[in-house]
Symmetry: C2
Subunit: 275 residues, 2 copies
């Protein structure tokens, strides 16, 4: 790269860091990239760090020493996240979203990458401190949420299939009981899709009794993998805690009430916002 003035370098470094979350970049790499002294780079990083942290964009972790460098950790402040979730709750309460069986139509919302990116940033904030190797979800609506989270955490995604496709090679299948329909269903994952011993963050769109997530947890056992966390976009508050198959999860919104006759629903912020 040609040598840049400080102002231009700040612009370039900002975009470079934003495109590489959770990635350690050494001062030497920056000094080489910008043909500048490490002392100048350090001054630039101090400016970027202050803006990122003051404006709630994320944290810039600086590691001192010979192996030192900087790592951008995308985060969102609780109050900013709450404002976003309140607007999402308001939209989810629209009566035309109520479907047969007490489900909510959320596909249009999940279809908006900008909203998914904000939601992914919340999950990335909630799970930033955990040791995670990979994010897992089950097709179809969990996929956009899983990728948005993975983008911010710099992690790969594995998608559990509801069938066993020819294009995946040999696969492990398990049966599980869908908590809401009480029917036996199948999910499968290609043998080569997940390394043994992986620490896995499970992300899904909707949590009722939890049969689907429990299915993924059972599937992990087949790979000698472990659960590093569970994040769901919306949980149904109509399921009592005693009915739920597991209890350690982060929810961003909670559907507390559905009246199928009047199509009135109540959606409130999830347990991520509990104090």
């Amino acid at each position: 790269m040609r040598k840049l003035k400080r102002s231009a370098r700040l612009v370039e470094m900002t975009q470079y860091l934003l495109a590489r979350p959770h990635t350690l970049i050494s001062l030497t790499a920056f000094a080489d990239r910008y043909q500048s002294a490490k002392s100048s780079i350090s001054e630039d990083l101090a400016i970027i760090k202050e803006v990122f942290e003051e404006e709630g964009i994320g944290q810039l972790h600086t590691l001192a020493g010979a192996a030192g460098g900087v790592k951008y950790i995308p985060t969102v402040r609780k109050e900013a996240a709450l404002a976003v979730i309140r607007e999402i709750c308001r939209q989810l309460e629209q009566p035309e979203r109520v479907l047969a069986g007490g489900y909510l139509y959320m596909t249009d919302m999940i279809g908006q990458p900008a909203i998914m990116s904000e939601v992914g940033r919340m999950f990335a904030t909630a799970f930033a401190g955990r040791e995670i190797d990979v994010i897992m979800t089950v097709e179809t609506k969990g996929i956009p949420l899983a990728y948005a989270t993975a983008m911010h955490l710099n992690l790969p995604v594995v998608i559990v299939r509801r069938d066993n496709k020819v294009t995946e090679g040999s696969a492990v299948s398990i049966n599980y009981v869908s908590g809401s329909t009480k029917r036996i269903q199948t999910m499968s994952l290609a043998r080569r899709a997940l390394r043994e011993q992986s620490r896995v963050l499970i992300i899904d769109d909707f949590l009722k009794a939890g049969g689907t997530v429990q299915g993924m947890i059972d599937l992990l056992a087949e790979f000698d993998a472990t659960v590093a966390g569970v994040g769901v976009f919306v949980e149904s508050g109509e399921v009592g805690a005693e009915e739920r198959l597991f209890h350690d999860y982060v929810s961003l919104a909670r559907l507390t009430h559905v009246d199928l006759k009047t199509k009135q629903t109540t959606v409130v912020p999830g347990n991520y916002f509990d104090d």
Copy 2:
């Protein structure tokens, strides 16, 4: 927002623009946000524009006049894209990817958000000039590609299902013949998922004879919607042009040869890189 020094403002503006591709932001909005004169904002934008364009990050379109403002258009240079695609081709040629039926295992690559983001930027560059309302794909492997593209183009995504889920409401289903297996399959889309008259960019992971994409095109007709473009990650060059159901598409890579016995494959850059 508190008033920032120029250096800090450049950092904040850079992240603000990067998070809002294909969105017109007025000079007035920036001047209010940063409590600064429009002349200072214009100077900042000139610096950002120069860095974005010189370093191949994207374009900053400036619109003059009372309704004026600035719009960030993410792009990638052909030579930078070619370097990325060459590395992808190299990885796709690994013999262990060859599956029964001449398919390639690509799920691990599609599972990497950073690669998807680069691929999405290529599609966003290829289709930046078209009038598009929405991006469509079919589950499952097309979804990460569609979202990565949608993120850069600031467009919503609709996902065509291979079944008809209870959580979607009333849906339109069509039958199509999968070009490779010659079997009749079904795809469906919720009636409310797509507005009539929409201009739709179709994105998919793999194109063989084109039955799946043709199915999506037929589905669009049911919604009085039109095709604004077709983008595929990998096309199979083993299908002759005369066999292919349609011809106007952008491919990023082309699988030109598969030897099932030796598991040797050849993958080359796709027609996006043709002159």
